[in-house]
Amino acid sequence: MLKLIKSLSAAVLLSVVTLSGAQASGGGVDLKSVNWQHTGLFGTYDRAAAQRGLQVYQEVCAGCHGLNQVAFRTLQDLGFTEDEVKAIAKEYEFEGGPNDDGDMFDRAGKPFDKFPNPFANEKAARASNGGAFPPDLSLIVKARVGFEDYLYSLMTGYADTPEGFELTEGMSYNAYFPGHQIAMPAPISEEGVEYSDGTKATVDQMAKDVTVFLAWAAEPKLEQRKHMGLRVILFLLVMTGLFFAVKKKIWSDLH
């Protein structure tokens, strides 16, 4: 038994090393590492940061980037009240209809709507962005190697082009983007938004806030998951202990 546990744990360790080696093909740049409140075993989303992050998304990112998997109603998870959610949804306009005459009409957004795309289609998005296509941000945190740290590093990674680096016209230098040339100009600037809660809107603060918001957007069930996981694993520990005791008891007449 002890031998089995030893060899199993050795195998697990080895495979973790193998796999993390196998998948760490990010490009060799060390990302800035932030201690996010929602990572870790009991981590929960920083509600205040996420709410500020929503503001950054709405005022800065939403001009080019969609968030088309996220419904307004789910913003209640971040601590907004039902009325606040209704008010946020109302800021957006959607096409409704057809009405009884068969005509389409514009209507205000409702909590069940999802964040609308800023462009009608990919071609329109590319036409407005010098040929580049700003990706939808619903899953961006889960869709990039490095996750939250990558997004935060990217947003704070704009710098002057180093000497000898040939930057294509219309591109920006970014220390963390693969290839270091990114079509998106530095998205956030000092005091780019005015936070309603009085937090000072530094580039660093805004990058952190919007990262928390987008982490939530990508994995809205994180808290529910960890909460359930704790209970399930505690239960399993007790159950497995009981099985072990029963096993000992049943096998004792053999030895």
């Binding site: 495979s15 193998t18 998997q69 190697v145 693969p178 497995t240 099985f243």
Partner: protein
């Protein structure tokens, strides 16, 4: 031991269809070697995982839409809107990985203790058939979310069939149901992904049938000789397997609840785009050793043949291994070769996940060559020349011999 039910209903049924008696023999009084270690738990764990995959899969398919324009969003719908949909999906995705973990351990246990040798050749074959079906099922399942890795993985793997001379191109078109990986491909993959698990269930039944005909192997590799050597499956192994299941579920749940995306690839959260190729197309971890073998050969057809050959040679194992002794416990040289072979497979897994560049190409080639050298050359030779350690005369004797040494180990 004959089954004589007392309950009149059971009696009535069993005299017409002896299914309860059959289950009784299979799960209750199946005479099992008394010395099975925890390495023998992985078979039943694989069975549990098959059930988990089928149950979660059926629920997922109630909410999933197999269409190129909707598949990705329908998976996100499951993750966000369906009650406990995230749980079902993470259980299914991580469950696939866990299924392979368990099956790989099960296979390597068979290799270590010579469980493939006569009279268990068909049992071994049926296991390999299950393994092949699992690989096909897992591959097609990975395509269903229609992310970037889904799409490009499907493209790379289906294109392999294009390497077949003359008919290759037609076969690929036939597999795709068109001229590229597209909606017809997704639809048929969904259909087959739903079908194959039930085929696996069928082969599992045959696998267990064959097992119960020839009996379980055991750490000594010698057969049950008299009553002293065996114990009924229930309650001894049911409770031992339940304990094993508990430990396994804790590991499974650690991934499921705390690192559900660890074994996945971030690119699969990007919707499939036929116009953008990911920088590195990597399959799921459980395919990496075979992917490494595929890429070890500069020629496409050669690579494909070698990759399928890597599994095909396993079918010949019962005849390649000439040793009459089963368990590596009594085979000092084979024992060392086994660990080197295991290490070789881990190296292949590692290389399979790396980009195709030096030094990984060279390492991959050496590891690939060694894989085949081990099976095709070393195994037959060792079987002929190895001097095995003295075998115990029976399982009970081996168990009794072990006792004092176990105590010593405990004191040390």
């Amino acid at each position: 031991m004959s089954f004589e039910p007392k309950n009149p209903v059971v009696k009535w049924v069993d005299s017409r269809l002896p299914i309860i008696g059959m289950l009784h023999h299979a799960l209750n009084d199946y005479p099992t070697p008394k010395n099975l270690s925890y390495w023998w738990t992985f078979g039943s764990l694989a069975g549990v995982m098959l059930v988990v995959q089928i149950v979660t899969g059926i629920v997922l398919s109630m909410h999933y839409t197999a269409h190129v324009d909707m598949a990705f969003d329908s998976v996100e719908h499951i993750m966000r809107d369906v009650n406990y949909g995230w749980l079902m999906r993470y259980m299914h995705a991580n469950g696939a990985s866990m299924f392979f973990v368990v099956v790989y351990l099960h296979i390597f246990r068979g290799l270590y203790y010579g469980s493939y040798k006569a009279p268990r050749e068909l049992l071994w074959w049926l296991g390999l058939v299950i393994f092949l079906l699992m690989m096909a099922t897992a591959f097609m399942g990975y395509v269903l979310p229609w992310g970037q890795m889904s799409f490009w993985g499907a493209t790379v793997i289906t294109n392999l069939f294009g390497a077949i001379p003359i008919v290759g191109e037609s076969i690929v078109t036939w597999l795709w149901g068109g001229f590229s990986v597209d909606n017809p491909t997704l639809n048929r993959f969904f259909s087959l992904h739903y079908l194959l698990p039930f085929v696996i269930v069928g082969v599992v039944i045959l696998h267990i049938w064959a097992l119960h005909t020839v009996g379980s192997n055991n750490p000594t590799g010698i057969e049950i000789k008299d009553k002293q050597d065996s114990i009924p499956f229930h309650p001894y192994y049911t409770v031992k397997d339940l304990f094993g299941l508990g430990v396994f579920l804790i590991i499974f749940c650690a991934f499921l609840f705390y690192a559900p995306n660890y074994l996945g690839h971030p690119d699969n959260y990007i919707p499939a785009n036929p116009l953008v190729t990911p920088a590195h197309i990597v399959p799921e971890w459980y395919f990496l050793p075979f992917y490494a073998i595929l890429r070890a050969v500069p020629d496409k057809l050669g690579g494909v043949m070698l990759m399928f050959g890597a599994i095909a040679v396993l079918f010949a194992l019962p005849w390649l291994d000439k040793s009459r002794v089963r368990s590596a416990r009594y085979r000092p040289i084979y024992k060392q070769l086994f660990w080197i072979f295991l290490l070789d497979c881990i190296v292949l897994t590692y290389v399979g996940g790396k980009p195709a560049e030096e030094p990984f190409i060279l390492i991959g080639r050496i590891a690939t060559v060694y894989y085949f050298v081990h099976i095709l050359i070393l195994l037959p030779l060792v079987g002929l020349y190895e001097k095995h350690k003295p075998l115990p005369s029976s399982i009970s004797e081996a168990v009794l011999d072990e006792k004092p040494s176990a105590k010593e180990a405990g004191n040390a």
